[in-house]
C-alpha cells in the first residue's frame, strides 16, 4: 500500500486542476462534491497506507542532475508520515464539506475550493516528501496557499494586511529553514532525509569552519527557526491571530489542524538531528513552554472568539514543542494528532456561531444553548478536550506531555505546563459561557441565529466524536499504542534517547493533578461568566470599562505588535523611504533625462517622415548609387 501513497496527494491535485478547468462559474454542489469526494478517497487511501506502515519505504526517481549530484524526487512513507497523512486528509475532508455551508453564496466559491484543494495537495505532499528540498518546496506552497486563503476576502483591508503579515513573518522562519537545509546538504552531501538524519545521529556532519557539535546545534536551531515561523512560536507568533481574518474553515484547516502543525511535524521528522544535541532540544522545549504560557495569558482576555482559539492554537503548538523538546517524542506527536481534531472542531463550531450570528465578538453572543444545540454540544466536547478533562482526547495527550516533562527532569517546564493548563481551561470556558450561557446580549442577532445545514453539522458531529475518543489511541488502556507504533521510526538512528520515547505505565498522580487544574480553570470561568449575578460584570467588560493594567497587558497581547512595529517595521519603512527617494529622484531622473533626449531627437527627426513614398524612394535611390559607387571604387579597375 505504501507504494501507492503518491495517490494520496495526487487526488486533491486532480480536484484542483478539475476546478481550475471548470472555472469560477461552476455550480456549488459540483465544486464541493468533487473536492470532498476526491479528498475522502485520499483519506481512505491514507488509512490503507497507515495500516501497512512499517519500515520507512522510499520511492524516488531522479529529478535533476546538478553537477555530480542527482536530486531525487518521490515519496517516503514512515510511520510518522503515514499518521500525518491520515490526520491531514481526515480534517481536510470534513473542512471541505463544512465549507459548502459556510461559503454558500460567496461569489468566489469555486476559487475558494481551488485554493483549498491546492493546499490539501501541498500539505499531503509536504508530509511524504523524502528529501529536504522537496519538503521545502511544499513548505513554501502551503505558505502560499495560506497567504491566498487568509487574503481571500482581499477587499477587506484587514484581510489583505493580515495575509501580507502572515506571509512575511513566516518567510523569516523559512529563511532560517532554508539556511539549515543548505548547511545540512553541505555537511552531509545529500538532501535525503534518511541520509541526513543518519549522518547527524552518527555525528558525521562536517563543515570546515565549525566544530561538529556546533554544526549540529546550529543546523538544528536553523531548522527549528523554520518550525517557529510556521507553527507561530514565540517570537514569530504574531501572524497567526491576524490570520484569523481568513474564512473560518481556513482557520480550522490551515491555522489549527494542519499547516501550523507542519512546524511540529518538521521537528518530529528531523528528531534524530535534535536528539543529537542537548542544547537544541532544550531550546525547543523552552521556546515551546514559553510560547504556551504567553499565548494562554493573551487568550485570557480576547473578545474575538476566533482570536481566543487562535491563541489557544499557539499555546497548544507550544505544548507540542515542549513535549518534543523534553524528549517525549510520542507525546508531542500524539498531541499534534488529538489537537488537529479538537481544534478543528472548535474552529468549525466557532465558524458555525459566526455564520449564524454574523459577528465574532463574544460580547455580542450569549444564550445560544437552546438555539444551536449541535454547536453547543460539539463545542463543549472540544472545550473539554482542550482543557484536558478525562476522558477527552486532550486529556491523554496533554497529560503525556506533562508527565514526560516531569519524568525527564524538567520540573520548571512541568510547572509552566500546569499554569498553562489552568489558563487554557479558563479561557476556553470563558468563551464557551460567553457564547452559550446567560441571556442574549444582542437580541436582534440572537433572533436570527440558527443551526447550519447538514454539511455543517455532520463535520461538527464527526469531529466531536473524534475529539472525544481520539485519546484512546495512545492511552494506557491500549498500552500507549500510538507511541509504540511511532518509536520504531527513531530506533533506526542512534538517538541516545531510545528507551523513554514512550512511557511504559501511567502516572496516576500526574493525571489527577492535571484534571484538577483543568477543573479549577473551568470552575473559575463558571464563577466569573456563568452565574446569573455576573451579568453586570460581563456588560462592563464588554464595554471595556474598569480594566486593570494586567488585563490591558493581556488584552493588548503584551504589546508585541507595537514593539515589532517600532523595532522592525518602522526602521524598515525608513530605509524604504530613503531608497524610494533615491529611486524617485536619482534613478528616475536619469531615466527621464534619457527619455527627454530621445524625445527631442524624435521631435526633430519626425519631419523626415513626410508620408511621400517618392521622397523615400529618392533617398533610397541616391543611397543605392552611393553604395554601388563605393563598391566599385573598392573593387578597383573601373575608371
Amino acid at each position: 500500500m505504501a507504494a501507492h501513497a503518491w495517490l494520496v496527494p495526487l487526488l486533491p491535485l486532480v480536484a484542483y486542476v478539475f476546478l481550475l478547468v471548470l472555472g469560477r462559474r461552476a455550480p456549488e454542489w459540483l465544486v464541493a462534491g468533487v473536492s470532498t469526494a476526491l479528498t475522502f478517497i485520499s483519506f481512505l487511501l491514507s488509512l490503507g497506507v497507515f495500516r501497512d506502515a512499517g519500515q520507512p519505504a522510499t520511492y524516488t526517481f531522479p529529478w535533476l542532475h546538478v553537477g555530480s549530484y542527482t536530486l531525487e524526487a518521490g515519496i517516503q512513507v514512515t510511520r510518522l508520515n503515514a499518521l500525518m497523512l491520515v490526520v491531514v486528509s481526515a480534517v481536510s475532508t470534513l473542512v471541505l464539506l463544512f465549507s459548502k455551508g459556510y461559503m454558500h453564496g460567496d461569489e468566489r466559491f469555486a476559487v475558494f475550493y481551488q485554493y483549498l484543494n491546492l493546499f490539501v495537495f501541498s500539505m499531503l505532499a509536504l508530509v511524504i516528501a523524502p528529501n529536504l528540498l522537496q519538503l521545502y518546496i511544499f513548505w513554501e506552497m502551503v505558505g502560499l496557499c495560506s497567504y491566498l486563503l487568509v487574503g481571500f476576502w482581499f477587499f477587506k483591508p484587514e484581510a489583505a494586511l493580515a495575509a501580507k503579515k502572515s506571509f512575511i513573518v513566516t518567510r523569516i522562519g523559512d529563511a532560517g529553514l532554508f539556511a539549515g537545509i543548505i548547511m545540512l546538504f553541505l555537511a552531509s552531501g545529500s538532501f535525503d532525509v534518511t541520509t541526513v538524519l543518519q549522518a547527524a545521529a552518527n555525528h558525521q556532519l562536517h563543515l570546515g569552519w565549525i566544530s561538529n557539535d556546533g554544526l549540529l546545534v546550529l543546523t538544528a536551531i536553523l531548522v527549528f527557526v523554520g518550525a517557529v515561523g510556521k507553527s507561530a512560536q514565540f517570537p514569530l507568533h504574531v501572524w497567526l491571530p491576524d490570520a484569523m481574518e481568513g474564512p473560518t474553515p481556513v482557520s480550522a484547516l490551515i491555522h489549527a489542524a494542519t499547516m501550523v502543525a507542519a512546524g511540529v511535524y518538521l521537528v518530529a521528522r528531523m528528531y534524530p538531528l535534535f536528539a543529537a544535541s542537548q542544547a537544541a532540544l532544550t531550546t525547543v522545549a523552552w521556546i515551546g513552554g514559553f510560547t504556551a504560557l504567553l499565548a494562554a495569558l493573551i487568550a485570557l482576555t480576547q473578545r474575538d472568539i476566533k482570536r481566543v482559539i487562535a491563541y489557544s492554537t499557539i499555546s497548544q503548538l507550544g505544548y507540542m514543542m515542549l513535549g518534543l523538546g523534553v524528549g517525549a517524542y510520542a507525546a508531542g506527536v500524539f498531541h499534534l494528532f488529538t489537537h488537529a481534531f479538537f481544534k478543528a472542531l472548535l474552529f468549525l463550531a466557532a465558524g458555525s456561531l459566526i455564520h449564524a450570528l454574523g459577528t465574532q465578538d463574544l460580547f455580542e453572543m450569549g444564550g445560544l444553548r437552546r438555539k444551536m444545540p449541535v454547536t453547543f454540544w460539539t463545542f463543549l466536547a472540544g472545550a473539554l478536550s482542550l482543557s484536558g478533562i478525562f476522558p477527552f482526547a486532550g486529556f491523554w495527550s496533554k497529560d503525556d506531555i506533562l508527565a514526560g516533562a516531569l519524568r525527564h527532569g524538567h520540573p520548571a517546564l512541568y510547572a509552566i505546563g500546569l499554569v498553562t493548563a489552568f489558563c487554557t481551561a479558563y479561557y476556553i470556558f470563558r468563551a464557551f459561557f460567553l457564547a452559550f450561557a446567560g441571556p442574549a446580549r444582542d437580541a436582534e442577532k440572537h433572533a436570527r441565529a440558527h443551526e447550519g445545514g447538514w454539511v455543517m453539522t455532520v463535520p461538527l458531529v464527526i469531529l466531536g466524536i473524534l475529539a472525544t475518543i481520539a485519546g484512546f489511541f495512545n492511552s494506557p488502556l491500549n498500552g500507549y499504542g500510538l507511541g509504540k507504533f511511532l518509536t520504531p521510526d527513531l530506533s533506526l538512528y542512534q538517538t541516545g534517547l531510545g528507551g523513554y520515547m514512550a512511557p511504559e505505565r501511567a502516572d496516576v498522580t500526574v493525571m489527577l493533578i492535571s484534571v484538577l487544574v483543568g477543573l479549577a480553570g473551568i470552575a473559575l470561568a463558571a464563577a466569573l461568566y456563568a452565574r446569573p449575578a455576573a451579568v453586570d460584570r460581563i456588560a462592563s467588560e464588554g464595554k471595556a470599562e474598569d480594566i486593570g493594567p494586567l488585563y490591558r497587558l493581556s488584552y493588548r497581547k503584551f504589546y508585541f505588535d507595537e514593539i515589532y512595529y517600532a523595532v522592525v517595521v518602522a526602521p524598515g519603512k525608513f530605509i524604504a523611504a530613503v531608497v524610494d527617494g533615491f529611486d524617485r529622484y536619482v534613478v528616475d531622473g536619469l531615466v527621464h533625462l534619457v527619455r527627454r533626449i530621445v524625445y527631442l531627437a524624435g521631435l526633430c527627426l519626425k519631419y523626415t517622415q513626410t508620408g511621400q513614398v517618392q521622397a523615400y524612394g529618392t533617398v533610397a535611390a541616391v543611397a543605392l548609387v552611393v553604395i554601388i559607387a563605393i563598391a566599385m571604387i573598392r573593387a578597383g579597375g573601373v575608371f
Binding site: K606, Y607, Q609, T610, G611, Q612, V613, Q614, G617, T618, A621
Partner: protein, 109 residues
C-alpha cells in the same frame, strides 16, 4: 532560326540599353504624380531587367534557356503585380477621389 546562328550585336550595347531604360523607369517612378504612371514606370524597370535576362541567356558565359524561363516568370509576376496594384489604386481612388501619390500621406508625422 535565330537560336542557331551567332549574334553580332555586342552584349555591352544591350546591357547599356537596359541600364538606360532602367534609369528612365526609376526617374519616372520617383517623380510622376499619377499613381498609374508610377506603376507603369515600375513596369519599365522590370522590362529592363528582362532584357538583361534574355541577353545573358544568349550572350552570357554559358548560354542556355534558363534566362528566358526566368524572364517568363518575371512577366508573370509583373502581371500579378500590376493587377493587385491597380486594384489597390481603385480602392484608394474610391476613398480619396484622387490618384495622386502626394495625397496618399496618411503616414505623415
Amino acid at each position: 532560326m535565330g537560336g542557331a546562328g551567332a549574334i553580332q550585336v555586342p552584349a555591352t550595347s544591350l546591357l547599356a540599353l537596359a541600364a538606360i531604360l532602367f534609369c528612365i523607369g526609376l526617374y519616372g517612378a520617383l517623380t510622376r504624380r499619377n499613381l498609374i504612371i508610377v506603376l507603369v514606370s515600375i513596369e519599365l524597370m522590370l522590362n529592363a531587367a528582362n532584357i538583361n535576362l534574355v541577353t545573358f541567356s544568349r550572350l552570357g558565359a554559358s548560354p542556355g534557356l534558363h534566362g528566358q524561363v526566368f524572364a517568363l516568370f518575371t512577366i508573370t509576376v509583373a502581371a500579378a503585380e500590376i493587377a493587385v496594384g491597380l486594384a489597390l489604386l481603385l480602392a484608394a481612388f474610391r476613398t480619396r477621389r484622387s490618384t495622386h501619390v502626394e495625397d496618399m500621406d496618411q503616414h505623415k508625422w
